[in-house]
Assembly symmetry: C2
Homo-oligomer: 550 residues x 2
């Protein structure tokens, strides 16, 4: 163990972060960095300090207000503790948000590894997005909740971390809830309190050894800008295994709060409350093929407000539709395979699963909109961060021959990032080569409409990703799999949103949505015909997207 003393008289403690391959930090490279204040442990992280770091991250010191702190490093080369710096300036202040691999139209953290979106809510003209974050490593660990705000859903600003790990564990996933009626009684000055419900992941850190997963809350009395962990945590004690990922919604019809949490395998549990603080356990329910991260939201069928349904959604996007009878969820469907099709592989989850995962909808959105953001599981192997979140998608319920089904489309707000647009109508595939280069970019929002007969085959590539559609077998072929999609009235439509670390696809009028967690070659901004076939007519538009960070 090696120790240094610092004075917390500047904004940041700067921490060098070593590189990692994939998103698992090898056990042998982990060191423990502990922070002591007046002899008490106040923070402890797994770090991998490096004299030639991939990036420099920051620990916010403002809460220590000039006090003296002792820092201790255990494991590996402990002399590296001397690299830590107290500073008012970030090491990468000059390049931050302008890095070559930073996605332009997708949420990423300033520093570190991100996963599930958490705590999404809207209040006072601001969208709030939180997410699982390891600020001090480029793989999973040290799970904080990062916090970002936006006025328009597309331009985001990162705030200091909202939830820090503590002796109860890492801060695993959860949701946000705006207590408009102050049912909790925790509001002040007429401002509705905002809740974050999170999972203290006991035993997932050295500090929380021997503890269990529980459900806890943090409360904001300033409209969602700052959160304090609730003094009487946990609000739901340990139930089973690694129970986690609370999603809390207000059931207006029954005038109570509903929480759904993951229990184990594919089992979820409902809980009910009048005041967000005291919860009674309800029924358990299985979502076949899912685990973790439930979402729960209310939607009308075909915009008919008399036909409102609840949708219970699992991490992989399998879902079921139902309603509440008092404090009881009544499914009206079996489990439906979701629009975000996911395929597992025998030997590698990452290799074949699609990008979108652990999606979550915003609480308290105006006009009953249901907007969802998911985690895109892209590993980024350079720059100060890894992974990103999806673009915001708007969900609707539409009736089909099989019954009501969810549709997923990019939220209208995505248009706000359009920089310039180019289109053509009724041309052949060779027309892709005539698109002036200034309309192409790393981030593009494209719509393809192919008019063709079933004996034709479409093959084209976007930023090096081959996309093939064969109407004879009704399959869209992508590097991750083949998806059944029919030609309709001799037409096949596809929307593709590319960025530096992802390719998102939408088809079948929103009933198909698939995300490729891929990092295209940064120099390849091409849209290319692969197979020129004179019998195919194309309507096409491309919108080059600008950076949300500018």
């Amino acid at each position: 163990m090696r120790q240094i003393t610092i004075t917390a008289d500047k904004k940041y403690l700067l921490i060098p972060v070593g590189n990692v391959k994939g998103w698992t930090i090898p056990a042998e490279s982990i060191q423990y960095l502990s922070i002591y204040q007046n002899g008490s442990l106040v923070e402890e992280y797994e770090v991998c300090l490096d004299a030639s770091p991939r990036c420099w991250s920051c620990l916010y010191l403002e809460r220590y207000a000039g006090e003296t702190l002792e820092l201790r490093l255990e494991g590996g080369d402990e002399s590296l503790i001397e690299l830590l710096e107290v500073s008012d300036t970030l090491k990468d202040a000059d390049t931050l948000y302008r890095e070559p691999m930073r996605p332009l139209a997708h949420i990423t953290p300033m520093h570190g590894f991100m996963n599930d979106p958490n705590g999404l809510f809207y209040l006072n003209g601001k969208y709030h997005c939180f997410a699982q974050l390891n600020p001090y490593g480029l793989g999973v660990g040290n799970t904080h909740w990062m916090h970002m705000v936006s006025s328009d859903l597309m331009h985001w600003q990162e705030l200091p971390y909202a939830l820090l790990p503590d002796e109860t564990g890492r801060m695993y996933s959860g949701c946000g809830a705006v207590d408009l009626q102050n049912t909790s009684g925790l509001g002040k000055d007429g401002i509705p309190p905002v809740f974050l419900f999170y999972t203290p992941a006991g035993s997932k850190s050295r500090w929380s050894r021997g503890k269990y997963f529980e459900i806890a809350a943090a409360v904001s009395t300033d409209g969602g800008m700052h959160f304090e962990k609730y003094a009487q945590n946990p609000i739901v004690q340990h139930i089973a295994y690694m129970n986690r990922d609370p999603k809390v919604v207000w059931d207006d019809q029954n005038q109570n709060w509903v929480m759904v949490i993951f229990l184990d395998n594919d089992r979820y549990m409902f809980l009910y409350s009048d005041n967000l603080l005291h919860w009674e356990q309800g029924e358990t329910i299985r979502i076949r093929g899912s685990a973790e991260c439930p979402d729960l939201f209310n939607l009308p069928i075909d915009n008919d407000m008399t036909q409102r349904k609840w949708v219970l959604w699992g991490s992989t996007d399998n879902y079921m539709i139902g309603h509440f009878e008092g404090r009881h969820f009544v499914p009206e469907t079996d489990v439906i395979e979701g629009p975000t099709h996911r395929i597992d592989s025998a030997y590698s989850l990452e290799a074949r699963s699609t990008g979108g995962y652990a999606a979550q909808t915003f609480a308290n959105l105006p006009n009953g909109r249901v907007i969802q953001i998911s985690w895109i599981r892209t590993v980024v192997s350079q720059g100060p961060f890894s992974s990103c979140l999806s673009i915001p998608n708007e969900l609707r319920l539409v009736s089909t021959e099989q019954g009501p089904r969810l549709t997923v489309k990019p939220a209208a707000e995505v248009k706000d990032l359009r920089e310039c647009s180019y289109s053509f109508v009724g041309r052949g595939l060779e027309e892709f080569e005539r698109i002036p280069r200034e309309y192409l970019g790393e981030a593009m929002d494209m719509t393809f409409k192919f008019s063709m007969k079933p004996d034709k085959l479409i093959a084209f590539s976007v930023r090096g990703v081959l996309i093939v559609y064969d109407p004879k077998i009704e399959r869209l072929l992508l590097p991750v799999g083949a998806y059944k999609l029919a030609l309709k009235d001799d037409t096949f439509e596809l929307r593709v949103v590319t960025d530096r670390c992802s390719v998102e696809l939408y088809a079948d009028d929103g009933k198909f949505n698939l995300t490729l967690a891929t990092v295209p070659d940064p120099t390849d901004i091409s849209i290319l015909p692969v197979l020129l076939d004179p019998g195919i007519g194309i309507d096409f538009e491309v919108h080059k997207l600008k950076s949300m960070w500018e």
Copy 2:
């Protein structure tokens, strides 16, 4: 201008190298670093010094033997000259050749940007490979010849740079020639002299302003380990435009040396010599669709030594077959589209051209073998180097219905890198998912043999690259294009060699060879069925390749 003085009493001058996007270094980021010895300019480079460099490169100081040197920096932030360090140890000595993006089975430079292979020859049990190199930038510039040697064609060791830019220009491409009969008279002690023929690229550097492209030679009298530029350079004075890229071979039948150089557009010129030093101009010849970097080699048709032909090959692999009548090349074919199919795009050469370019064969190989290495134009956006060379390919001439044609197959030596192997026979595509993970890796050599009828469609992916073969239209669909390849006896065979920065494909018994300059996701080592079709039987083998650097 800012100046420092150093003592060259250690091995290296260490130079920090800033990052670059693509392979063009923006003009505004270029600074001039000049080295003066006793008041005379001895070296001058375009650099982009960076306090947070992507890598540290090295300038070899040993030739200055402890003397005092003045270093001058002009342009940009000139205070960055203080970053330069004299050292006996490379900055990245701990990680060199073990970087996450370093190809395992492909030649890469220690530091800097590589392009064309140059000067390939074999002598005394050693293969020598040179290549265009910018040691001090991650895009084109400062063109040196790097030098590597190997005993087995697969494990390579980099030696100090063989040719440094000088007042005649950057050191552009050329070839190697072993003067076994000492026709030049420059041999010493019975050791055959080895020649490098190169292109002093006048006016391509500040130092060579106003000069023209010429052809020059450097000579080794120690069996190819060290080269001295020939005192009477140039050996061929400027002829036209940017004439360049000499390829020199011994014509055994006519007992003379033949040189072919690029002139302009698609024009090439033959020159002839008895002694490698004095050259007479011969005819010019056009290779339609080519420019730069000719190759010239001798092969028997169908291994019949009485049917030897010369092959003249252009940079893009278009070629023609002919013979020499004395000092005159007589084409026997029109220009043939080569096995390395290349497609240009209207707006981006990089986007669509295939990886392999500027291929060159070894001089003086035993047993009349013709082995060729090309440049793979992959931009690598992290680590101390960018771009790589192809695996060695063995070329043959075979007779076909259309006349003699070249075939390209991986040289047998590629097998030497096999770490472990897995295979199956007569299974369905779903069998790919059952390959144990330990047989998969970032570098793999795979052979697929599909037994199928024309009404079937194959779709699978390798490390995220979708590969589709449709026998009905006789097309192999790849992200860069569609290639005509017929089903033969209800069988389609494909060999695929992947590595960290490339995917090389071989089909049609060697008559098809295509390289994708792509950087697959490092965490994706998958081989996946995309479309499961019960009517397809597969014979498959995969050989995981180990690192040539271990």
